[in-house]
Amino acid sequence: MQVKNAICPFCGCLCDDIALEIENGVITGVENACTLGAHKFLEDRDFRLKSPIMRDGNGWKDISYDEAIEYTVGVLADADRPLLYGWSSSATETQALGAHIAELISGVIDSTSTVCHGPSILAIQEVGHPGCTLGQVKNRADTIIYWGANPIEAHPRHMSRYTTHADAFFIQNSFRGRKVIVVDVRKTPTAEIADEFVKIEQGGDYAVLSALRAIVRGKTDVIPDMVAGVPKTQLIHIAEMCKEAKFGAIFFGLGVTMTGGKYKNIRNAIEFVSELNRHTKWTITPMRGHWNVYGSNEVFTWITGYPFGVDYSRGIAFYNPGETTAVDILARGEADAAVIVGSDPGAHFPRICNEHLAKIPTILFDPYPSATTHVSTVQIPSAVNGIDADGTAYRMDGIPIKTKKVIDFGYPTDTTLFETIYQKIKQVKGGVDIDA
């Protein structure tokens, strides 16, 4: 059996043209996907956890889904400072249930954006977001900047679908005519194929962005000969390339959000785009990582008013990144229970956070054994969205796309599990039915 136009559940590109060959309940062939997506589809089934597991002294034992759900409900209903973290590998339907559970138990809900493009959101809250869809970029943008991003390794089809190698409706010979500028601290594979590579010193993003803004403003005289390792002559050249573009698009990655300056780097990048928009048309878009991390920001904002790091301990939604965000709550040793959904803080959080997760009841919802498994008390495998579950996801440019269920392995979906948990906690708490 062949499935056409399947959605890839790996990165924020959400490629929607994947063709899958399925034989005897196994995905045997993948077309159009990148290396990352192909591994996801082809190797998925071999590495799934078969049933829920629970830590048992210095070992582990299998438990039933009913036992796992009862344990989860008991832990969450009793917790004083529960943390519900992850959500970016779940459909929006599951994310909504997570936000409602957080309110019900006066907990904190945070998504992986907190350690990804959280700083980008902080910057957007300060100065706005001159963005557009990837379709606009594909068909109109004649100049592209990748800043602190390496799409060839992190979003391998981004350049072929939307930028460098993509056909454009409004640009003649776009394959050769589009200019690509890469700004990075090392010559990445993406930088190798750029028309212009700007190599900056580590942590130099803010200074280089400020210099470019000054040049675009006509204040070239104030720029020193070198700015964070970049010669003034190259900065002037880049600024000219940007001003000469008819439609330009900046894509930025974690090279800008995770270094010193954090959200101030992004703010400067957005203000650089604002400067350029006095001369021509430019937009800016974050390269979102998890396939539905954008969805978590959308859903949490609809329901709570805030995009991530939402704390219900006061009875109302409260948001203060640095205080109500997952890393900070764990590093302070504050959470007394944690639910981790489709993410791996064991691999992607600082050491001190995992030392705390190992001390408290930590319930992991993940189809695969991960680094977090070893610091959890219970792991519950659920169906993988885009393979054996469907739901709504948001692409990195904010376009909602319905993922497809292409096969059935008999695993419950995240949505089913959290609907059950929500109803059971409501019974335990005896609270008001917020759906009524």
Partner: protein, 129 residues
């Protein structure tokens, strides 16, 4: 010697990201890329081991010689090895300094720990599958 360690996605890391306990993932996530001149100063070659010290802890990593890395810096794929060295401070933003780890790196003769054993050091109980 003092280095700034940068972290990020590689194709090898991303391809095995759902199999964090596999040899393929462990080999990639613990592979630190360093400039050939720095390796010469340390007296080691690609494929040998180093010990990285940061934030009061240290761990063993395997070295890959990479001329695209600036002297005085290093690159480690994101994952449990890199984050073992990252401190929990976020400068009130929620975001740790994942891409700016100040580390002392020296030659080492130990082997790289599997992910499960790394998690045991943090208080976890390894799950063997």
């Amino acid at each position: 010697m003092r280095f700034i360690i940068n972290t990020g996605r590689t194709v090898g890391q991303g391809s095995h990201v759902d199999r964090k306990n596999s040899p393929e993932y462990i080999n990639e996530a613990s592979l630190i890329r360093m400039n050939p001149v720095d390796l010469m100063k340390l007296g080691i070659e690609g494929g040998e081991y180093v010990r990285a010290h940061a934030d009061g802890v240290s761990l063993t990593l395997r070295v890959l010689e990479d001329g695209t890395i600036e002297e005085g810096t290093a690159f480690l794929p994101l994952g449990p090895y890199a984050n073992y060295l990252v401190s929990g401070g976020t400068h009130s933003t929620g975001m740790p300094d994942f891409k700016q780890i100040n580390a002392d790196i020296e030659p080492d003769d130990q082997k790289v720990l599997p992910v499960s054993e790394l998690m045991r050091l943090l208080g976890g109980v390894p799950y063997a599958g």
